[in-house]
Symmetry: C2
Subunit: 388 residues, 2 copies
């Protein structure tokens, strides 16, 4: 299982660590403490679904130089031992007396100079995956070392994908595209949306997903109400607009795009809504460039929708993508993050068809020097109709 | 979709809230702030896979009396509006200027007396699902109100399952049992473990899982190495011990149990290991009672293994189960949590067959006044053999 649990060969991880350490030096961090699955996978290649259990905390220390150090529950020693790093320290978790905090404090102290600054992700789109009381203990133990926000170092590195990562995301997109092509097999009038969601997940697995971390969708006459609900028992009806959206995972990397379907012949309103969103996406595909901001990307799509006489949705119209279903930045008027070459992003324009009736369209791209390269095969230009 | 998104009728949630508020009064908490998916689902019925996106924080306030208040990103308003609570406050997330913190601070202040104590889960098996920097801002805004550990109130309520919850967990167990019965369809010599994991997830979906949050397993000659690894490309071979373990989800509730299979005729060592684990589980099924401790439950199983002349695994031999794949307590010698009537638990004895070769057996139970009631249909008494 060695090759698969590594996902990438060691040089990929060494390059990531070196980039992180340069960003840490830039930001004045003497060490970086990682607690979140995506960050730990990014640095070590440690890939497991065991994160689903909230019982144990896991830690990886990125020192200012040298290899990362894993401080983890003993149950993970075998799997971490197949990753590229060699310094793996374990404790018998869960331990109500001291759940790895002494071991972590000692390990951090080893890597730190006189009075060090330890970066921890504290800003938007992050959280600390360890008990808050244990973090307070750790902070006390390590004084006068200080914990500071390390989000910038982490995100500025993770947001630029290597070609190896882009290949993985493309593979996830391609398998999802094959599953979307099979939607007419199971989206039919009378089908319960819950069964449609199951069939779609089955199709994704059959087409090569390792697992399906995210499926959402909607169905409704002339549009759906939201895009995050689980399926209900109501059957699909002629005249419904059906949307399926997925974050399928292959080798730890996500796709995140959706497709819309009309059940039976599409109304003019639905066909037009799809045309508008397709054109808004097209405009972003033509215009996006490195050094634009996320807010400018939002404006490109929002203006295309407004110019077509439609009402864009208020939320974000796209976001980063990769090791998690969604990553920074957000295509909103408020996010002035600079778009950079190598970012993998979703273009996700949405509009209001009528009050409470929306349509959302989504594609995945990697931003190249000369503009976007599609990773998801392009949606059909006209709204597909499922024959009755 | 109203019925399904609610999962339970409003009285179930009102009863949970009332129990929480009694525990809060006992623990001197004036309000409880929830940030984790399981806690928010438990109190409101808000069920979505959108938690997979780390972009946004979500908050629910349980005041000392009266209904909970949701303070959530606008994208969730539609779905939360179909839940039983009526006080739903939203902001346009993500907002880099103020990501809901002013709204949350104002909402908390409304519910608090003079100088209040706000409970937040800070202890083992919890984390704060919001950016740490935002929590610091919130704390500053709310002074002199204090944030204190609210884990006990939350866990002492959540750990006792209602009959409605037990029915959901049983349903998850039964569908997983049907999927396990189909293992001989896809576990064969030459099959890659990755494809086995896919087929098993497909079977779980076909048997009624809404989604499959967890699949793990192992395969190896005479035993597997660990129980948390993803699948590798190595084909299954005659003489392998294969284990599949799943946390399949139905209506937001998990099962968590495994099954072992011998590929071809089982060696004496494998058959004997299975017998020992089956007997250790049997002993726990006979002996566990409310008012015993988790450590005593551990001793029951560990001693049965030792008395049979085998070597029990060092980790925990069972744990809580319900709204997440694993819940407290942990069956270890260090966990002195009292077992209570209505707890749903896993019995998970494991042993070392040889160095680096283990076997783990798992069942799910609810603890009744007179002992365990099985929720997972009992594993076969002898190790099943897959015919070559």
């Amino acid at each position: 299982m060695a090759e698969r649990s590594m996902i990438f060969a060691a040089p990929e991880f060494r390059a990531r660590t070196a980039r992180l350490q340069r960003a840490m030096a830039r930001d004045g961090l003497d060490a970086l403490l990682l607690t979140q699955p995506a960050d730990i996978f990014y640095v070590t290649g440690f890939l497991t679904r065991f994160w689903e259990s909230p019982a144990r905390a896991w830690f990886v220390i990125v020192p200012g130089s040298g290899e990362p150090v894993a401080v983890i529950p003993a149950i993970g020693a075998d799997l971490m031992g197949r990753c590229w790093i060699s310094d793996i320290r374990t404790w018998a978790a869960p331990d109500p007396r001291d759940d790895g905090i002494s071991l972590l404090a000692a390990s951090l102290r080893e890597t730190l100079p006189g009075t060090g600054r330890i970066g921890v992700a504290m800003a938007a789109e992050t959280h600390l995956r360890m008990p808050l009381a244990d973090f307070a203990r750790l902070r006390e133990r390590l004084a006068p070392h200080r914990f500071v926000d390390g989000t910038k170092a982490l995100h500025s590195v993770r947001e630029i994908k290597s070609e190896a990562e882009i290949d993985k995301i493309r593979a996830a997109c391609l398998l999802a595209d094959r599953a979307f092509a099979r939607v007419p097999e199971f989206v039919r009038p009378g089908a319960a949306l819950g069964d449609v969601f199951r069939s779609f997940q089955i199709a994704l697995l059959q087409e090569g997903a390792d697992w399906v971390s995210y499926v959402a969708g909607g169905a409704g006459q002339g549009g759906y109400g939201d895009v995050i609900s689980p399926a209900g028992p109501d059957p699909i009806m002629p005249g419904d607009l059906v949307m399926l959206d997925t974050g399928a995972v292959r080798d730890g990397y996500f796709c995140d795009f959706d497709r819309n379907f009309s059940i039976g012949p599409a109304s003019d309103a639905l066909r037009r809504a799809h045309d508008v969103l397709f054109a808004a996406t097209e405009r972003a595909l033509v215009r996006l460039r490195p050094a634009m901001t996320a807010a400018q990307a939002h404006a490109v799509m929002a203006e295309a929708i407004v110019q077509a006489g439609a009402v864009p949705l208020g939320g974000r119209l796209g976001h980063g993508l990769g090791v998690t279903l969604t990553e920074w930045p957000s295509f909103t008027p408020l996010d002035h993050t600079e778009l950079r070459e190598g970012m993998v992003l979703t273009l996700e324009p949405g509009l209001q068809i009528a009050p409470g009736k929306i349509m959302v369209h989504e594609e995945n791209i990697v931003l190249r020097a000369d503009g976007p390269e599609l990773l998801s095969p392009r949606a059909p230009a006209t709204l597909p109709e499922i024959r009755l």
